[in-house]
Amino acid sequence: MSAAARQQKFSIAVPTPLRSYTQGRAEVAVTVVAVPARLADALAALDVDYPGIRFRMVDEAGRVRPHIQIFVNGAIERNPAALLPTDARIMLVGALSGG
């Protein structure tokens, strides 16, 4: 399989607290080479395009931060090792209430 054939593109919806990294874009696309593609691969690809963004969502131990929520095709997914369907649409959400 060629490198191009191994590439998968995923759409990622970016919440307002993280749009300073994406030049204000609410939605971006990332390209993942790994097969099968995992959520961690998509977040790593996002960090290549927008350096620093991953650490604001995922801590140094590899865990999704408590007030970040990630949806894959509408379902909550907090496991970075989770496999991504080929049509996965990833939605990042800042989930915090209070003052």
Binding site: P51, D59, E60, A61, R65, G94
Partner: protein
Amino acid sequence: MPQPRTAPRRVRLLIATRKGLWTLAGDASRRTWKLAGPHFLGHIVHHARLDPRDGKTLLAAARTGHIGPTIFRSVDGGKHWKEAARPPAFAADSGRVVDHTFWLTPGHPSQPGVWYAGTSPQGLFRSEDGGVTWDGVAGFNAHPQRKAWCGGDQDGTPDGAKLHSVLVDPRDAAHLYISISSGGTFESTDGGANWAPLNQGVRADFQPDPDLVFGHDPHCVRFAGGNPDRLYQQNHCGLFRLDRPATRWQDIGGGMRKSVGYVGFPMVTHPHDADTAWILPMDGTSVWPRVSPGGRPAVFRTRNAGMTWQRLSTGMPKAQAWWTVKRQAMTADNHPTVGVYFGTTQGQIWGSRDEGQSWKRLAEHLPHVYAVEVA
């Protein structure tokens, strides 16, 4: 009393708050002040410092409620900011996660670009490129005793355990002090490769053994102005002074009025006079309200290295003012007649242009103030 060699600059205060960073610039007389900001509106900014070595690099330690901690950096005095490429973070296999960077200290004048950061939970980090990238100081973060020194979650402050008061000896870049809440004060003489507790004489009333080697709760530790052999400490359990090479702290809280007590968070030292320091006491009785005792705020100043303390409250409210002032939220400038400044959790900034004799409110309606520093 020795005076500063160069004419002091106009004072600009960096005000770090729970909702962003503001600046407050004074005129030459320090009578008129202009507020500017916010930067990073909505970010929790725990500390912001100017690099005194170049006079233009600023670092700000920030996070938000949603997203993780970072360091913002400006090389033009705050006109433009860029995020650190690699903010402080523990080793991936350490099992520890930086919640926020709490304290920033510029390094020694002989090491331009070196900065230190203290984090919550207690970690020490160092940058050698002016804050762009950060690495853990393994001598502390991976020290075999580190876990014993730092204790468990119950040993931290309500906002998380902190590493703070990172002090670099102006005569020796390898001579460092750090303090941890809780854990105590620690010293390194080899640039952070090894650390030893330095807590003899400091009370720890909350521990079964009052004469511990570590496990204390220093709130703020500062060098005396012009004499780095002298340290002043505002502790959870009192006020202390250490004159090196001695290793036993002296209790200097005995001169405080019993009705006020000796509990507080900040410790501010005079830039030119090693015998002068200021504190801002808070109520440490019963359930620890941590507000101005009796609702009557006052700064207290010693002119004799802590033997006696004088109440200074001219200009402040006389009653029903329940202020809390955090450990980084009080500072002094470098003028011949020193200005002293502090910020409250109610968002007021107060200043004195006569070494604390009289006070004036310089700004109000800001968010909860975490830190005030002269830039």
